[in-house]
Amino acid sequence: MPLRNFILFSNIRSFEFALGIVPPSESQGSSNSLLLPLVAKGDETAMRKCIDSYGSLVWSIVCRRIRDRMDAEEACQEIFTEVWRIAARFDPKVSKESTFIGMIARRRSIDWQRKQNRLPPLATLDSLPELSTTSSSSLHSIDRSELWNALQSLPENTLKLFSLHFEKGLTHDEIAQQAKLPIGTVKTKLRRGLIEARKLLNELNLNKELAR
């Protein structure tokens, strides 16, 4: 099956989204369904709902990188503590709630992985500035299947590396072994691919603006 079709239909959720079946927690049309603005105000019920709604998502992101169950559970606690602390930084004009929380989970679990490998942790969100709502890289109006469609113009070998890294969750070492590439090449291609993907996202947003 061509990679493009595989990406489109391998995830039933993107299929559901294409048919207009949007899970309530992802709805951006109604601000009443958003939990993080309430969490930012210290709403305990909203925080409990946040754990119920996104706990599974966070757990799956953590388990991709942290094998030990106790470590994974502790990482989840750290992640939701951070969600509680920085909920006020969520902006629905910039991204979906799941993306924002997923980003925290991803960053924390990457840092955990780096700590296990005796590498210095990377900067936390505390030290990164806000994302402007006018940024051309805003993701709030782009669904995931649209995004992957837009990325089809990336070079074939970059798409393959993206698939191994983002879809299959392989480490750089594992990708280098499987693709029979030097690890330095994998790092460079993934980094440049991500930068190029951002440019494609900017174009996608621009095209959507012009189409309105």
Binding site: S10, R48, K115
Partner: protein, 249 residues
């Protein structure tokens, strides 16, 4: 200039992918300071979207779900009983450190009145915290012996917000490829081990640094804040071989 920006962008992509080497991490920190206008979370969000496309949610166990609910400060404060008067001592935890390394002076020195260095984001947040919550806990750091005898500063901590900062002067520059500073928070209401407050570096050129506290777990009425020197990336449990500074209530 363009080359430096292009290099920063590539390193930032490496940061998002989690593949920066220790040397690249130091380089990113320096370039991030220079290109603050280019700093953003765009790539973080983009990478997350790409990953979420194929992430199948895994159900949480009910025990983990309950544990997560307990991390919510409001929940944990509500459910905690008021503790009886108790003598809080951090000496058992520090005892090994005192025996194993340099003597820690327990005479709290006068707080250094040097103006904070300009590190925009953390400094502004510290000032905002002090202004918003003037009753936040403030403890002065006391230093150990050589080479840390000239350290001064304070820690500002707010239980309700779970937010805090350290303002440190004359903390020696470290090479993150060799070692990093790590903060530990002694919370008597937790188990015997202190809570990890985050790993940090002092880059070249810093006289006074404002460091945000990144507590891994909820802390309540911390009795002490201890800075140790650890391997790159920090440790899960400190052997307290090098205690750099201590602030205690």
């Amino acid at each position: 200039m363009e080359n430096a920006l292009a290099r920063f962008e590539e390193l930032d992509a490496g940061r998002v992918l989690g593949d920066l080497s220790p040397k690249e991490t130091s380089e990113w920190l320096i370039l991030a300071e220079r290109h603050q206008g280019s700093n953003s979370i765009e790539l973080d969000l983009l990478a997350t979207e790409l990953e979420l496309q194929e992430t199948q949610p895994c159900d949480l166990s009910s025990s983990l779900s309950n544990k997560l609910a307990d991390t919510i400060p409001a929940f944990s404060n509500k459910n905690k009983q008021q503790p009886a008067t108790q003598i809080i001592s951090i000496l058992p935890w520090l005892g090994w450190a005192v025996a194993a390394c340099l003597v820690i002076s327990l005479n709290i020195p006068d707080t250094d009145t040097s103006p904070p260095a300009i590190q925009l984001t953390s400094t502004q947040k510290l000032e905002a915290l002090i202004k918003k919550e003037p009753s936040s806990q403030r403890l002065a750091f006391s230093s150990a012996s050589d080479p840390y005898q000239n350290i001064s500063g304070e820690v500002i901590w707010n239980d309700g917000l779970q937010e805090g900062y350290m303002s440190l002067t004359n903390l020696p520059v470290n090479d993150p490829t060799q070692n990093q500073y790590q903060l530990w928070i002694v919370d008597p209401e937790r188990d015997e081990l202190p809570v990890d407050g985050g790993v940090f570096d002092i880059p070249v050129g810093s006289k006074t640094a404002v460091i945000p506290i990144r507590n891994a777990l909820h802390v309540s009425k911390p009795a002490a804040f201890v800075i140790t020197l650890e391997q790159p990336g920090g440790v899960v449990n400190s052997k307290q071989e090098v205690v750099v500074a201590l602030a205690k209530s």
